[in-house]
């Protein structure tokens, strides 16, 4: 178990370092000289040289990378060229919004997806299964952001149930926070719920027809207990995997959802930084998102071993 833990930690660290190199080289490959941009068009060579020295651009690339990585480790990503604000402050202000949206959406997706999956597996071949399957097929085919736009039109504008845009911090007023974030989270969660529904159903159907379940039933165990203790527990592994695989989609979907509902999150920051060519911010955002992705996947891998002891024994490290 410890060996596996170390292996996974080491693997994640290598991936993270590689990712940071890709980001670093990618930003350096972009056209334009930041020193020239800062000094202005008519600056004399001495000024430009001074700025280059100040930014550390006169040093070799490996030295520059080590400086960049060292600063990044302490959370220092420099200053935004668009706003002049420290990048870590900008990320600090927007990251919580994105994380809250993602967690809220995932909670909705897991709850709705697993319920629909269990219903479809238990009522196999009857109308609840068709309803659940039809819903997930539809949810997978319809573009989320289109549903978001239509939801604003009907649920917000015509019925007035939800606000069309805006955000209130959780610490400020939890009820208002929920009022503003529920519709975006619901929209973001729908397609993920569909994927979870499909996987839960498939895994539950497999488990419920297995021999050990037949034995349990033969012993006289009630069907509720069979479904919960055997079916659901086994399908948890699949659902955990799916959540890990969906993180990328959740981040991408989050950017779009933030844009539709005008939420002040990382997605908005990312788009703004691309359109203003704010390289320090782009660099930091990419690195933070990638790091988050790697860390969450690591946590999920470790979670497996808690859910399913068989994995611990067989040693997934190979």
């Amino acid at each position: 178990m410890l060996r596996y833990l170390f292996h996974r930690l080491w693997q994640s660290a290598v991936t993270l370092v590689l990712a940071s190199i890709v980001v670093f080289v990618g930003v350096r490959a972009l056209p334009g000289d930041p020193a020239l941009a800062m000094a202005g068009e008519n600056a004399d060579p001495a000024t430009i040289k001074a700025i280059r020295a100040q930014l550390g651009l006169d040093q070799s690339l490996p030295v520059q990378y080590l400086r960049f990585a060292g600063h990044a480790l302490t959370g220092d990503f420099g200053k935004s060229t668009a706003t002049g604000m420290p990048v870590n402050q900008m990320i600090g202000a927007t990251l919580p919004v994105t994380i809250q949206l993602a967690l809220y959406a995932m909670a909705i997706a897991v709850l709705a997806g697993m319920t629909a999956g269990v219903v479809a597996a238990v009522f196999r071949g009857r109308w609840p299964e068709w309803a659940a399957n039809g819903f997930s097929l539809l949810a997978l085919s319809v573009p989320t952001f289109w549903v978001g736009i239509l939801a604003i039109l009907y649920l917000s504008v015509q019925l007035g149930w939800f606000p069309a845009s805006g955000y209130v911090a959780l610490s400020e007023n939890p009820l208002r926070w929920m009022y503003y974030l529920t519709l975006p989270a619901l929209i973001l969660g729908i397609s993920h719920a569909a994927v979870i529904q499909r996987q839960t159903r498939a895994s539950m159907v497999g488990t419920l027809t297995a021999d050990f379940v037949r034995t349990a039933r033969a012993k006289g165990l009630g069907s509720g207990a069979v479904i919960l203790r055997y079916g659901l527990r086994n399908s948890l592994i699949v659902v955990t995997t799916v959540i890990g695989l969906q993180l990328g989609g959740l981040i991408a979907g989050g950017v779009v959802t933030e844009r539709i509902f005008s939420l002040p999150g990382m997605g908005k920051l990312t788009l703004d930084s691309v359109f203003t060519r704010d390289y320090p911010v782009i660099q930091a955002v990419v690195l933070v998102v990638t790091a988050a992705y790697i860390v969450i996947n690591l946590l999920i891998d470790l979670l497996y071993t808690a859910i399913d002891p068989r994995i611990r024994v067989s040693g997934r490290a190979q």
């Binding site: 319809v142 573009p143 736009i149 039109l153 695989l245 993180l247 990328g248 991408a252 992705y293």
Partner: protein, 295 residues
């Protein structure tokens, strides 16, 4: 964006013709697959024939007739804020979606299939390629598209490259798994004993048998790419105006949603139909290629 299709079981090369007949027969007996296939046929034809079907140029503005309702004479699906014909724009938008979809599938196939074959066949390469695929999976496709857009400034090519690259790792995994499985089959061992070289075995024995898995994975990538293109263009990272794209139409329509919702409704319906078609047809194709299901 990183769905992996279930791998259909093997179909021996020897009776490929008979297998093909069985696959077609099974497809014809699957009502959902037929609906999906018909949907696909209609939207693909509409996209391909857009220059002949569209009543107007997709960029032609009619300032005197903005915000026409659907059903207006001359504008079957109405007009947008600049009086552009929504029907023409939807047709050309579907065409652009397919262009991005096909290009990204090609990219994923051209890069992913050889890497999958090689890493499945040679163990020493496997560690390297699999690590690479893991690394690529760690970059969410949108972040990749953001990076590419920062360098290239968006466009159809940018969207296709970003979506193609995003789908390379899953293609590698699918083909690698197939290669690993086929490597130990009797007919590959027989080829070995007949002194067939590695390239010959990969090209003549393993690739044809892995084809069904590759095709199924392509039907998974296509709708994902169509959705991805809409998302990227909606965000301003994909196709650039005035070129029509379903994503751009939705982003434009959101600005005047409260005046008329129709320009936002139709592009979404088209995206949904394309994806529904691919999902239904892809599911049916996977079942048909799997010898364990049905007759």
């Amino acid at each position: 964006m990183t769905a992996i299709a279930e791998t259909p079981a093997e179909t021996p090369v020897a009776n490929l013709g008979r297998v093909r007949g069985r696959v077609v027969r099974k497809l014809l007996h699957n009502p959902m697959g037929l609906v999906g296939g018909a949907l696909l046929l209609i939207v693909i034809l509409a996209g391909v024939l857009a220059p002949w079907l569209a009543p107007y140029s997709p960029t032609e503005v009619h300032f005197s007739t903005p915000f026409q309702q659907p059903g207006t004479v001359g504008f079957a699906l109405g007009t947008d804020d600049l009086g552009r014909d929504v029907l023409s724009r939807v047709l050309y938008g579907a065409r652009a979606s397919f262009e991005v979809g096909v290009l990204s599938v090609l990219l994923a196939v051209v890069v992913g299939v050889p890497l999958g074959l090689l890493s499945g066949y040679w163990h020493w390469l496997d560690t390297l390629v699999s690590r690479l695929a893991d690394l690529m999976l760690a970059f969410p496709f949108l972040i990749l598209a953001v990076g590419l857009a920062a360098i290239n400034g968006g466009g159809l090519g940018n969207a296709a490259i970003a979506l193609g690259i995003a789908n390379i790792p899953t293609m590698i995994r699918v083909v690698r798994a197939e290669t690993l499985r086929l490597k130990d089959t009797d007919f590959v061992l027989a080829a070995h004993t007949m002194d067939a070289g590695a390239w010959r075995i990969l090209g003549q024995h393993i690739l044809p048998n892995a084809l069904s898995a590759i095709i199924v994975q392509a039907t998974v990538i296509m709708p994902a790419a169509v959705l991805g293109e809409a998302v990227l263009s909606f965000l301003g990272l994909g196709i650039q105006p005035p070129k029509p794209s379903l994503g751009i139409m939705l982003s434009d329509a959101q600005q005047y949603l409260f005046r008329t919702p129709w320009p936002a409704v139709f592009p979404g319906i088209v995206i949904a139909l394309i994806c529904l078609g691919f999902n239904l047809f892809g599911d049916a194709l996977r079942d048909a290629l799997d010898p364990k299901t049905g007759k």
